[in-house]
């Protein structure tokens, strides 16, 4: 580097040290934005805040745990976990009713059902059929959650412990909105319909016209905060991440007209748009649709605290999450078609699903990659202070209203501001 003729050494030194970015003080300073438009990164990284989220949000809200097609027959069961990994078992009784129980033996705390899925009529080495049997000491429970067998009950417990008082912990359960099984750990909270606040009217035709069936099930465990993944379903500014979405959407007429509509309880409706799939090399328009969906249509619903219903013309993608820690989440991805699909139709839906949302799809890998590296960037001590959610574009495609309505509800339930978790929510 040469010195400009006549420039003093001091002046040159000053020029070399010119600050083009922000120094620490400026970097850490809050942007002049309202509380609704900023999120403090500590809400993604603080273990204490995570524990409070589990207690105040995940243990108090309705969460889907599986689809009824996974429990089609009496005595079918499905084990799962929710809300910080509370183990549960969902069982269809001989009366056809679906019930959910804590999958914990009231005796010594072992898991009662270990398989992901099965039918209670199949005998296990340690138990007879039609019951859930804890393999450890042989306690048995029927599909209604009653304790029906305690080996050597009288000999050991006399009258102090008896079957009548040792039923399973039952969890509120509803089957609704496209045949999904919803549970709520809070015995006294609002009803499922009240919690949804009518948002599913937007997909009533698509979800309720005829029975659905799961054809794709995928578990994704990522070291990231659960909220990052849910955010990807609530703003499409991040379509810049996806070449597929730029080609089939952003480059097409009407893309920027898509609307978000905030609902009560932090839910958000994601308006209909029409994708031009054939704009992506090698892909074709989607001839198949769901009842009520236009050709190539795409609409969605984002539910607080972390559920997404995404319907792209021929296939429904529903994501649930089980937050494990502030930096680890299990994401369950389901793909659904119509139960009456013939083989050819089903194969077509699966192909469509895989092009974007399968583990080898164009978008899924990019979304998961982005939320994984996002967690790296805001890990404690990295220096990241805020996430900015300040885009305002009349609630359309690149507006961040979907994020703001989420964090408004988050702040209300947590009693602290997402923009500054040290401050109380007014």
């Amino acid at each position: 580097m040469s010195t400009v003729a006549g420039e003093s050494p001091q002046a040159k030194q000053s020029a070399d040290n010119e600050v083009t970015g922000r120094l620490s003080k400026q970097w850490s300073a809050r942007l002049p934005l309202p509380d609704s438009h900023l999120v403090d990164t500590r809400i993604y990284t603080d273990p204490a805040i995570f524990e409070q989220e589990i207690e105040r949000i995940w243990h108090k809200t309705w969460l889907p745990v599986c689809h009824e097609s996974e429990l089609a027959n009496p005595l079918d069961f499905r084990s799962s976990g929710i809300a910080g990994d509370v183990p549960i078992v969902i069982v269809r009784g001989t009366d056809g009713k679906v019930r959910t129980f804590l999958n914990v033996c009231p005796h010594r705390g072992n898991l009662i059902v270990r398989k992901a899925r099965g039918n209670l009529s199949v005998a296990e080495p340690s138990g007879n059929s039609n019951h859930m049997t804890c393999m450890f000491h042989g306690w048995q429970f029927n599909a209604e959650g009653r304790c029906v067998e305690i080996p050597r009950e009288r000999a050991g417990y006399q009258d102090r412990v008896c079957k009548a008082g040792m039923g399973l912990r039952q969890i509120r359960t509803e089957v609704a909105y496209g045949g999904f099984v919803w549970v709520n750990l809070d015995d006294d909270g609002e009803s499922l319909d009240d919690y949804m606040g009518g948002i599913f009217d937007y997909m009533k035709v698509e979800l309720e016209s005829e029975p659905l069936e799961v054809f794709h099930y995928q578990k994704v465990v990522i070291n990231t905060n659960y909220k990052y993944f849910h955010e990807t379903g609530r703003e499409f500014y991040h379509d810049f991440l996806h070449y597929h979405n730029r080609q089939t959407g952003m480059m097409q007429k009407g893309y920027f007209d898509r609307k978000y509509v905030p609902y009560k309880n932090g839910h958000c409706l994601i308006g209909l748009t029409i994708s031009q799939y054939k704009a992506y090399q090698g892909y074709e328009d989607r001839g198949l649709t769901f009842p009520g969906m236009p050709k190539n249509g795409w609409k969605g619903i984002g539910l607080f605290p972390g559920i997404t219903f995404n319907l792209r013309s021929s296939c429904l993608r529903v994501n649930f999450m089980t937050p494990i820690s502030e930096n680890r989440v299990l994401i369950e991805v389901r793909g659904l078609g119509l139960k009456r699909d013939d083989d050819e139709t089903r194969a077509s839906r699966i192909r469509d699903f895989n092009t974007i949302w399968g583990p080898f799809g164009r978008n899924a890998h990019e979304d998961f990659l982005a939320i994984q590296t996002q967690a790296v960037a805001v890990r404690p001590g990295s220096g990241a202070k805020y996430c900015v959610m300040a885009r305002e574009e009349d609630d359309t495609t690149h507006d961040e209203i979907g994020l703001r309505c989420y964090y408004s509800e988050w702040s209300r339930r947590m009693g602290r501001l997402a923009s500054d978790p040290t401050r109380t929510h007014p």
Binding site: R117, Y280, N354, G361, H365, E366, F368, T373, V376
Partner: protein
């Protein structure tokens, strides 16, 4: 076992060479060279597994030769973790249908993943982990002008693929 013994040694060698070469080419991300091993008219590539959660076989990729070619051509336009996938394979069983000049080969494989920039490159870049365990079920057409893969079914025991991949297995 009898099927293996029934396959003539020269054919066994040809099929082994083809499958091992396919793994090396995929490891080296030489996509066009891999496609040269596949029959452009009939090739079908499927990745599937059995899900005990829904009690079904499921297929996560099912494409033909043209679909695979498109997929490879579009890779530079997509964001990726740039992880290097290393396939270790052993051909275990060959079943020969001489009348059709077709071999069905069952190959056990493991895929190791060497991380690059999918996480914190400063910390994780260069580290390797076991990623996938499964089998290739290959159909090989025996031809005087060069044997070709007509179908590869990648059947995985592993069902958790974390962030997934834009690369075939």
């Amino acid at each position: 076992m009898s099927a293996v013994l029934a396959v003539p040694q020269d054919i066994r060698n040809r099929v082994h060479d083809l499958i091992y070469e396919s793994c090396l080419l995929l490891n080296e991300e030489r996509w066009d060279d891999f496609l040269d091993l596949c029959d452009s008219e009939t090739f079908r590539y499927v990745i599937g597994n059995y899900s005990p959660e829904i009690g079904k076989e499921q297929f996560w990729l099912d494409i033909d030769f043209a679909g695979m070619k498109h997929m490879f051509e579009m890779l530079p336009k997509h964001n990726t973790d740039h992880a290097q996938l290393t396939r270790q394979s052993t051909v275990y069983r060959l079943e020969y249908a001489p009348e059709n000049e077709v071999i069905t080969a069952t190959t056990g494989f493991t895929i190791y993943r060497t991380h690059e920039d999918g996480g914190y490159a400063h910390l994780d870049g260069g580290s390797t982990c076991l990623y996938v365990v499964g089998q290739y079920i290959d159909r090989v057409a025996l031809r005087p002008d060069g044997d070709k893969l007509t179908q590869r079914t990648v059947w995985t025991n592993t069902r958790q693929l974390d962030i997934g991949s834009h690369y075939p297995f």
